[in-house]
């Protein structure tokens, strides 16, 4: 039986040797590999190490041969055949990257001599397959979503690298300046050019609302690249902001009514300036005018005064002393000018003041005197005739 066995083996070997001589043709197989996946053919091993650049079609493959100790890592250009150990025509391998799917996968075509064995694909370690990559998220937020024309709003641009690799060449692309706003400071926002994984950066700029309406704020886009110069981008959510009409100050002047002033007497005139508007009034200048000019004198302090700012709801009070020097009807006009958001605004108030005529008190006595004289006369007559 041993002989039989030897014969059979000899036959098989002969067949085999005969077939090898006859089959010196080249076979090929295409494999879809992910990072870390490898294909074993005979003593060759082909491993996808890295997708270096999708745009440039560069991948890194590692080819080794156990029998010869060859171990080579080579960057392969897309659709360009690379020979290892002489290529498939010379008992080596010819490898071509047929397609790059993404950063971690590519289609690899392996040509090999048909006789060296059957290629077998072996899946690599999953972790190795996950490629380190940056991932940026960007947000654009306002410190308020409702504001009035003239209000300033702070815009915060925040970028965070939630990926696993450094993000480089970071660019924040904010929309061109919105017409509804006047950009005061910090625009365009500046973000660091690179962010390590987990790092974040933010930028703040201030703008003033200049036009009322509902403004749709377009998303902000962040562009970056990874180490392989793969360019990526992300953008924030779209939002809107409501701009109400501008807040304006409203200055109300009021002078308390003054009772009629006796001739040559003084009285107090209370003046109140109230900002009943929604915005501060700036550079409030008060002036006064008395008509007619002569006869009623403002003793002091002067009505003419200025306030740099009167916040909304604030009331300024002061009192001046006036003196009636001539009888008559007078009007004290009070005028306030202030910055009201759209330029200089004027407000006026007037107060009528009556100065009574000179009180000749002795006139009362003159009135009494005849009465007294008549009474005395009657009394005298009464006594003359009383018996």
């Amino acid at each position: 039986m041993r002989v039989v066995h030897l014969v059979i083996i000899a036959l098989l070997l002969a067949v085999h040797l005969g077939e090898g001589a006859d089959e010196s043709s080249i076979s090929y197989e295409e494999f879809t590999l992910q990072l870390g996946d490898r294909v074993d053919i005979g003593s060759f091993r082909v491993e996808l190490v890295e997708v270096q650049s999708i745009r440039d079609g560069l991948t890194v493959l590692r080819v080794s041969q156990s029998s010869t100790g060859m171990d080579e890592q080579r960057v392969l250009v897309l659709d360009r055949a690379n020979d290892f150990e002489g290529g498939a025509d010379d008992d080596g391998l010819t490898i071509t990257v047929a397609a790059i799917f993404d950063d971690i996968s590519a289609k690899v075509r392996i040509e090999y001599p048909t006789g060296i064995g059957t290629p077998r694909k072996r899946t690599g370690d999953v972790s190795a397959r996950t490629r380190a990559a940056p991932s940026l998220i960007v947000t654009k937020s306002f410190d308020r979503d409702k504001l009035n024309v003239g209000d300033s709003v702070k815009v915060t641009i925040a970028v965070k690298n939630v990926g696993t690799d450094v993000a480089e060449n970071i660019q924040v692309l904010d929309q061109p300046p919105l017409a509804e706003f006047l950009y005061i400071a910090g625009y365009p926002p500046k973000i660091r050019e690179s962010l390590e994984p987990g790092e974040s950066d933010s930028a703040l700029y201030v703008m003033n609302a200049v036009k009322e309406g509902i403004v749709k704020v377009p998303p902000i886009e962040v562009r970056y690249s990874d180490k392989k110069d793969n360019i990526k981008s992300n953008q924030s959510k779209e939002s809107s902001i409501n701009i109400n009409p501008a807040r304006r100050p409203k200055i109300e002047l009021r002078m308390d009514p003054v009772k009629p002033i006796n001739y040559s007497s003084t009285a107090l005139l209370n003046v109140r300036i109230t900002n009943s508007g929604q915005a501060s009034a700036y550079r409030v200048e008060l002036t006064s005018e008395v008509k007619p000019a002569d006869g009623l004198r403002i003793m002091g302090p002067s009505i003419g005064r200025s306030y740099f700012e009167i916040p909304p709801g604030r009331t300024e009070n002061f009192t001046v002393m006036i003196k009636g020097e001539q009888s008559g009807n007078y009007t004290v006009k009070l005028r306030a000018s202030f910055q009201g958001g759209e330029g200089l605004v004027m407000e006026e108030d007037a107060c009528d003041i009556v100065v009574l005529g000179q009180d000749y008190k002795y006139l009362y006595y003159l009135l009494i005197i005849p009465v007294v004289l008549i009474a005395l006369w009657v009394l005298k007559r009464y006594r003359e005739y009383k018996y």
Partner: protein, 379 residues
């Protein structure tokens, strides 16, 4: 007598008017009221008296209540004879009162200065007036040598009683016996016809008399177109019985005739004492005519005066030019006073009756007393 007037020194009459007794006081008060214009009861408080001359008035009475009734006579011109509350129509008591207070009374008069004429107004029937007046006139005559004294004697209503009648009779006689320059008679009995009730009759009589006295004073002291003066007045009052009276008539627009006015002033209706001038009861007269020039026709006046002179004897005329229709005051000296004679007859009867009544009463009383002549009181 010289007195400083508004236009310098002028001859002005100094007139003393004394009202004695209740009646005299009231006449004096009416004169004072007339001097105020006589318009209102309150005129004394706002007006002043406008006497045509310097007139001093004095009301004398023994009854203080009569003095208190006066309204237009100043208190200083009211003289109460102290310690008396009227004399109860008793002239003897009145005379005693006068003598007891003569100096005080005369001092009060003399304090008022010198006088040209004095009117002593009194009722001859009452107590104070009838008893004081003759004595007062006597005293005045003795102290003021040149004074003209004219008593104005008011005769009573005849039915007022026997005492008033006898007082009137004796007082009139005494007034005629003193050295008065005539007497003006006013007869209440005659003038009673002026008003229905006695109260208003008194007021009307007093006012009539006051008006005529002031008219007379004014006329005696005013420049006239035809002059009459105090001398003329005195001459008139000394005529006839030295008893006279005053007549008055005021024309109006309907009847502005001066002759009619003169005639009217002499008719009985216009006189204070009833006298028939046409029948020759007037001895002398003074006719004072006041009115506007339009109404004062001198020829007419002269004719009328001449006619009167043929009846009366002598008539003085005075013409005062003033506005308005003619007013005429006539002063008449009487030759006959039948009313006075009648009063004396009544007085005589009254005295007799009074004496008889008293004697009868006394005899009745004596008879009554005789019942107890022989008896004594038993207790």
């Amino acid at each position: 007598m010289y007195w400083e007037g508004a236009s310098g020194f002028e001859i002005m009459l100094n007139v003393l008017m004394i009202g004695v007794g209740q009646c005299g006081n009231r006449i004096l008060d009416a004169v004072n009221r007339q001097a105020f214009g006589g318009a209102s009861r309150l005129s004394k408080y706002y007006s002043r008296q406008k006497f045509p001359s310097r007139v001093e008035t004095l009301a004398v009475n023994t009854a203080i209540n009569d003095l208190k009734e006066l309204k237009f006579t100043q208190a200083k011109d009211r003289l109460h004879v102290p310690n008396l509350h009227g004399v109860g129509a008793n002239r003897n008591k009145g005379k005693e009162g006068f003598w007891d207070n003569r100096d005080m009374i005369m001092e009060e008069i003399e304090r008022r200065g010198d006088f040209d004429i004095a009117f002593v107004m009194t009722s001859v029937s009452g107590g104070t007036g009838s008893s004081f007046s003759p004595l007062l006139i006597h005293e005045l005559k003795s102290r003021y040598k040149n004074i003209t004294l004219i008593p104005i004697s008011v005769l009573p209503f005849r039915e007022e009683g026997s005492i008033y009648l006898q007082n009137s009779a004796f007082a009139l006689r005494e007034l005629m016996e003193v050295e008065a320059d005539g007497m003006v008679l006013v007869d209440n009995q005659y003038l009673k016809r002026c008003s229905g009730d006695i109260g208003s009759a008194y007021d009307k009589i007093n006012n009539m008399l006051a008006q005529r006295i002031l008219f007379l004073i004014e006329s005696l002291d005013t420049e006239m177109l035809s002059v009459t003066d105090l001398g003329d007045f005195k001459t008139v009052m000394n005529g006839g019985l030295r008893m006279g009276t005053l007549g008055y008539y005021q024309g109006d627009k309907k009847n502005p005739s001066v002759r009619a006015a003169i005639k009217g002033s002499l008719k009985e209706m216009g006189l204070l004492y009833p006298a028939n001038v046409d029948a020759g009861e007037a001895a002398r007269a003074m006719i004072i005519i006041q009115g506007s020039k339009d109404h004062l026709d001198v020829d007419e006046i002269t004719k009328e005066i001449e006619e009167l002179s043929s009846t009366i004897g002598h008539v003085f005329k005075g013409i005062v030019v003033r506005g308005g229709p003619p007013k005429v005051l006539s002063v008449i000296a009487l030759e006959k006073v039948p009313g006075v004679v009648d009063l004396y007859e009544r007085a005589k009867r009254a005295i007799h009756e009074e004496r008889d009544r008293r004697e009868r009463s006394r005899s009745q009383l004596n008879e009554a007393f005789e019942h107890i002549n022989d008896l004594e009181e038993i207790y």
